[in-house]
Amino acid sequence: MFSVIKGYFQRMFRSSLVRLTIILCLIFTLIFVAVSVTTYFLVTKETLRQIDSEIEAGLANLDNKEFSPRPDYYFTRVARFRDLPEAFRAEISPRDGKFIESIDDPFRGDWRIVINRTGEAWSLGAARLNSRDDTLDVLMQVFLLTGGIGLLSFFGLGLSAARFSQRRLDHITQTLNDLSEGKLKSRTQMQGHRDDIDVLGRNVDKTAEQLEILVSQTRNLSANIAHDLRTPLARLRANLEQYIAGDEDAFERAAVEAERMSEIFNAIMRIARIEAATGNEGFEMLELSDIAAEVYDVFEPVVTERGKRLKLETLGSSKSLLDRQLIVQALANLIQNAIVYGGDNITLYTNQNGIGVCDDGDGVDPENFDNIIRPMVRLDDTRQSEGAGLGLAMVRAIADRHKARLQLSTNEPHGLCVSIVFKKI
């Protein structure tokens, strides 16, 4: 039982909002006490000053026959000190000149007295302090009451607000715990309050979503690697077995398969490396049309050799911060794709903000645009052809590396256009 309560308080106290509430309450109390003390002090001083001046006025009017003192005030003039009323005489000692004193007598009440000795005569003015004390009492009661109520409601409201926020934070913590345990579907689903906790929750959701995508991509990738490497591996094995069985030619075929596997693996690793790279190393300011011209020079003979035509179209150009090697590789992959899947005419083009390749082949159904840029996804009717399905995935990785957008569109009247659209600098 005790440990349960202890645990509850420990949990409560761990909450930064509860701590904040407690600290604010302490500060509130301190400020309130300071204000009360100051007020008490000032009010006391001011009322005494008023009473003193009232007594002075009374003393000055002592000879006036018309003068009648206000209630709670008492005035007298005597020839000798011992003629003063005993209540006062017992409390004070005779002195020369004028003096002011307060007498605090619990039985007969508190008094403020002024005694003025002129020659042999003693004149005395006194004021009862009861009414002033009553005022101060009321004042203090008001202070205590408002302060107490204020503090209590402040503390209560603060705690409940803290508990409310804490529940939402706990919910986020729980979601994060679930995520760390591998329940990648769990989300905070925070909304409706439009505050910072909502923002935090939504960001957690966004991160979780990204994480889920990445994990599923990795799973996909490994499954696809297994699939796409298994085929050449099987062929390699078959070739080697044929060689052992006496087929001399099988040996060369085996070497080709090994080479192919090595290529697929390199491509996979290269994509992974490009995706994991950060920073601007290897980047330089380059003119898009220069790169296009360079790529054109390299690939025009290659395309021609395959019985197709490569055209260079410069619709515009701009300077961008690029990794030349990567952009050349991306364009090489796009041209390779166009050679294998496209029609007879391939266009390499640049415009104001991007660079890309178009073909006039059968094109790709826009529904499949998202699919074909994923690693190792090959539309079923292309699975028989050469390649590992890594070309566009690499282009996308390269575009991502440049914080550029990979844009797929249909070439009119038919064919596919793939371009890398750079962000404006």
């Binding site: 390299v298 090489a332 390779q336 050679i339």
Partner: protein, 227 residues
């Protein structure tokens, strides 16, 4: 040539050693970095082939200590670490070439050849030559004119670059990858037959019209200029 080979893989090491020996080199194989360092300081080698990850002393540290002691023997790194940064790290440490596993033996062999006949710092005059000549083929790099048997051959910029690369390495095997790296500055495989196409265009100009073929294909390996 005397070659130091540092490779701890029980199959790869002897395979490379045997292959290089068949080509007429003398090969000392080491599986331990420390032993290799001792041997390298005791003996003069023409080329060193170093694996990066070996027991006791890794290839990179070995190379660094060699270069620190003013040993300028050409070094080829042979490694499974293919990241660009690793490549750069190796070259910065003073290696002359870098070959990533898995590799074809022909590739390694060609690179060893290229390495051994690479002009040393002392005889750079030869590389500065602007007029190259082999048999009846002449290439003037300044005037950008190519002639064979007195006939002027019209070559474009890239073709001149390729031909220059070959003419500076007569009789040596040049692989596809070497051409991609050196002539096109591509550290990746463009999957298309870039090299093959450009070579066949070049060949059509410098070899086809003439009786003797200068640029020969070595199947599965690369190309050889001259003989």
């Amino acid at each position: 040539m005397r070659i130091l080979l540092l490779e701890d893989d029980k199959q790869l090491g002897p395979w490379v050693k045997q292959g290089l020996e068949e080509e007429g080199h003398v090969v000392d194989l080491f599986v331990d970095g420390k032993d290799a360092l001792v041997a390298a300081t005791m003996q003069d080698y023409d080329v060193m082939i170093l694996d990066r990850m070996v027991p006791n002393l890794d290839g990179l540290s070995l190379l660094k200590s060699l270069r620190a002691s003013k040993n300028a023997t050409p070094v080829i790194f042979l490694t499974a670490l293919g990241e660009v940064e690793d490549r750069v790290e190796g070259l910065e440490a003073g290696s002359d070439d870098y070959l990533v596993k898995p590799f074809a033996f022909a590739e390694l062999s060609a690179r060893v050849q290229a390495m051994s006949r690479r002009p040393r710092a002392s005889d750079t005059v030869e590389t500065q030559t602007s007029k190259l000549k082999f048999a009846d083929l002449e290439l003037d790099l300044l005037k950008r004119v190519c002639k064979r048997a007195g006939e002027t051959i019209d070559l474009n910029g890239k073709e001149i670059q390729i031909l220059e690369y070959f003419m500076r390495r007569p009789g040596r095997v040049v692989t596809r990858t070497m051409l991609l790296e050196q002539v096109w500055d591509m550290n990746f495989d463009p999957t298309t037959s870039v090299v093959e196409t450009h070579i066949s265009r070049l060949r059509a100009k410098i070899d086809k019209p003439f009786p003797k073929e200068l640029l020969k294909t070595r199947r599965g390996i690369g190309y050889v200029f001259g003989d």
